[in-house]
Amino acid sequence: MKTIEELHKRIAETSYICGSCGSCRSVCPVYREIGWESSAPRRKIALAKEVFLKKKEKEATKQYAQRLQECTLCGKCAEICAAGINTRELWLNLREDLRARGMEHPNLTQMASQIKATHNISTFPNEARLDWAEDLDEVEVEVSKAGSEVAYFVGCVSSFYPMSVGISESIVSLLDRAEVNYTVLGSEEWCCGFPLIASGNAQQVVELAKHNVEKVRALGVKTLITGCASCYHTWTHGYPTILGEDLGFEVLHATQYMARLIRTKQLVPGSLGETVTYHDPCDLGRNSGIYDEPREILLAIEGLSFVEMPHRRDLADCCGGGGNLAAVDKDLSQAIALKRAREAVATGATILTSACQQCVQTLQMAARQEKLPLEVLDVTELLWRSLEE
């Protein structure tokens, strides 16, 4: 863990690099909605420069704190940055400093308390983590089954939120169909800690990381799969850094694992006569480099017509659901989601897929709210649907 002095030094050094060119403006989903320069990444960095490099503490106002937390952490600004700044890391460092200053958004403070109390992001007790599995007629989901090859880390959203349980149901159904020897952690699965990392609260993640890794190691599985892009990013990028060691097992996103099953013919997709597009989740695509496998799955479904959106892969726009934005400004998050959903509709697709429970949920809400002719599904849900039909 870095000291506050180290944190400040790091922010000061990074902010000094920014040349204020503004390449980050037009790709920033938040700036595109708010429109004022104060919401552009270059301005946030300029303010950080004032506070940390030039020691002008008076610049650290409430409005400054609000703007820093109005960010989806999509990383698109880092992708285009003319100075090559790792802006995503900078935003996390700045949020960590906000917490230290007691300027964290109250909803995020409440969320941190919630996770501490229940080990998940909902208000439900963690014992209810497997309630979604009760609706499955043909699949029996076994908890902490010894000798399993694969552990499925379900994630908070598709464990507790009714809109998203279709994802976990589809993933276990697919694993079952492919006769994979898998298990889940049930109430021993704790929140991966991604929402805390996104709040600049990496310290609180240590306990969660230790617990989750210990439980998975105890199962002796070869592979851990996650259905959530943010869980995946946390397991692959966050945990090894936080714990300072290799995990000792392979971590794959569900789409990577399903694509592997399709390649080895353990899973043969069905057919669907639909026009489908795909939204790259920021944490799976730009921030983890996984673009091909979700598309590989979609292209393997017979009869499916796949169309790309103009903003895709490393240039994909954010769904608006990342970086805890919905907790800070729900309307802003929804406005960003709506823009993305409209881009999907413009392709002529009737189904928008993604590979992240948060993206699916956010885009689904936007599509419903605007009554867009668009169904939003996870890639695994669509794959399962092709088999069911």
């Binding site: 040349g19 060119c21 503004g22 320069e37 104060s38 552009a40 400054y64 100075a83 090559g84």
Partner: protein, 503 residues
């Protein structure tokens, strides 16, 4: 004031909140507050984000009525205070003027055009056009941030200028709002009447809006020539041993008039070294002068040009780096600021220069750098067969006020060097008004001023830019003398601060 403006633009697109206003008092360049406040009053009283020409018209009429100046801002990606208020007032942010029309085919010339709103960035327009098989003809090296209206209001030279000229040559018609609040549409003089429709009253003409930095009218929409996406692209990266061979290659490339020559980008050994220190450009051998040569066009034309270029590179004892290196450089063409990872506080001079003088310029620049203990980091674009747009950057330290101020004087040395070889500062804005005499002869200066008075008699639009120096300190003689005096202290200050950043 806020209420009046919100009445025109709506509640969410007008603000007088100091937190929101502050960023509009800044552009890319860092200038010490003491200098800024000595010479200007940059903080606007209000910022508005109109979405139509009609709203801009109402805003101008309102500003005229209450007698406050109006400054227009696009991407805010220049370094000369072009879009920063000199006398506070109203700032019009054009970034909500977004979108472009369907492609049109000009029957006469058989060329494609689009009407594009002024607030789109060049990259966004190009991305959008490419989905339809077209592309912009040329773009600024700040394409991800520079707006369409912004670049047209500036010099308009950049990537793709060799075959397509200045962006001003690609504008077929333009819609704008005049200083009296009229909405006008003007066609290119050679394509129709330069003055038409409602423009009679103000007398504004098409050329009043080209490169005049928002001082004669506010551009809202542009009819722009576009091109088909080329059949083939080839990006070569050649390195040379000295400036003479590099300059000869640039002149040869300009003189050969290859139809497929799209862009030539020069990087000095110092530029490459600075990038390499930050972990980039590792494929380029240290100490070499590099030319990225970008070819785009019909397959056979590109292939033919590649063969000839390879021969010429060899003839000049240069080396072509392996395939892929040039493509990588091209992909990173908007990322030249990565050198700030090594040199985080840079000052600069940007000028146009005859290509024939490039080698001499570089040689003298190196001598000047050695003499003054200044690391000069240079890159350049060929912008016509005969002209290069040269950017010279040198390190300073904005955390040290005295160092930064004495370093500012070096920019004046750079312009002096460029001028002695036929070069001119590229953009005027505010900070380059002392150099107006180096840019335009007296006749042209008078004509420009005459046009300004004719179309904006009350100096409502972007006052203080582009014409006579707005302040005695910026008078060319006073400023020149001041820079010489400050420059005299520079060696001493650098000596005292030896070991400071950038040295």
């Amino acid at each position: 004031m806020e209420q009046a403006l919100q009445k025109i633009c709506g509640e969410k697109r007008a603000t007088t909140d100091p937190f929101e206003l502050a960023p509009y008092a800044k552009d890319v360049a860092y200038v010490p507050a003491i200098l800024v406040h000595l010479l200007t009053n940059p903080l606007p009283k209000a910022v508005v984000q109109p979405i139509s020409a009609e709203e801009i018209s109402s805003l101008i009429k309102w500003a005229k009525q209450v007698k406050i100046p109006v400054t227009v801002r696009g991407g805010g990606s220049t370094a000369y205070f072009n879009c920063i208020p000199m006398k506070s007032g109203l700032l019009i942010d054009t970034n909500r003027l977004q979108g472009f029309s369907e492609l049109e085919l000009d029957q006469g010339s058989n060329r494609k055009t689009v009407w594009v709103k002024a607030g789109m960035t060049w990259k966004d327009l190009d991305d959008g056009l490419r989905q339809q098989g077209c592309a912009v003809c040329s773009s600024p090296s700040s394409a991800p941030s520079a707006t369409i209206g912004g670049w047209i209001s500036m010099g308009g030279l950049g990537i793709g200028s060799v075959p397509y000229g200045s962006v001003h040559d690609q504008v077929m018609a333009i819609r704008s709002v005049t200083a009296t609040g009229e909405i006008v549409e003007l066609s290119r003089p050679d394509k129709g009447p330069a003055r038409n429709k409602a423009s009679e009253q103000s007398g504004i003409q098409f050329n009043d809006l080209m490169g005049t930095e928002g001082t004669r009218g506010i551009i809202t929409e542009i009819k722009l020539l576009v091109r088909d996406v080329p059949e083939k692209e080839e990006h070569l990266l050649a390195v040379f041993n000295n400036e003479t061979d590099t300059g000869a290659m640039m002149s040869w490339l300009g003189g050969e008039h290859f139809t497929s020559l799209y862009n030539v980008h020069f990087s000095s050994p110092e530029f490459i070294m600075t990038l390499q220190r930050a972990g980039y450009a590792e494929e380029i051998p240290p100490g070499k002068y590099s030319l990225e040569i970008d070819l785009e066009g019909k397959r056979d034309e590109v292939d033919k040009a590649v063969v000839q270029i390879k021969k010429q590179v060899e003839f000049l004892s240069g080396t072509l780096l392996p395939e892929g290196v040039g493509a990588k450089e091209w992909a990173d063409r908007f990322k030249s600021l990565r050198l700030e990872q090594t040199l985080p506080s840079l000052l600069a001079a940007e000028m146009t220069l005859p290509v024939s003088q490039f080698a001499t310029f570089y040689k003298r620049l190196r001598q000047l750098g050695q003499k003054t203990n200044t690391l000069c980091v240079t890159y350049a674009h060929l912008v016509s067969p005969e002209t290069a747009l040269v950017m010279v950057l040198y390190p300073s330290d904005e955390l040290n006020l005295i160092r930064y101020i004495v370093d500012l004087s070096f920019t004046s040395n750079l312009y002096k060097l460029g001028h002695s070889l036929g070069g001119k500062p590229y953009v005027i804005g505010f900070w380059n008004t002392p150099y107006l005499k180096k840019i335009y002869d007296k006749g042209e200066r008078d004509r420009r001023l005459q046009r300004k008075h004719a179309v904006d008699p009350h100096a409502l639009l972007n006052p203080g830019k582009g014409y006579n120096p707005p302040n005695i300190i910026l008078n060319s003689y006073v400023f020149g003398f001041g820079m010489i005096m400050i420059g005299l202290f520079r060696p001493m200050v650098l000596k005292i601060l030896k070991g400071g950043k950038g040295l």
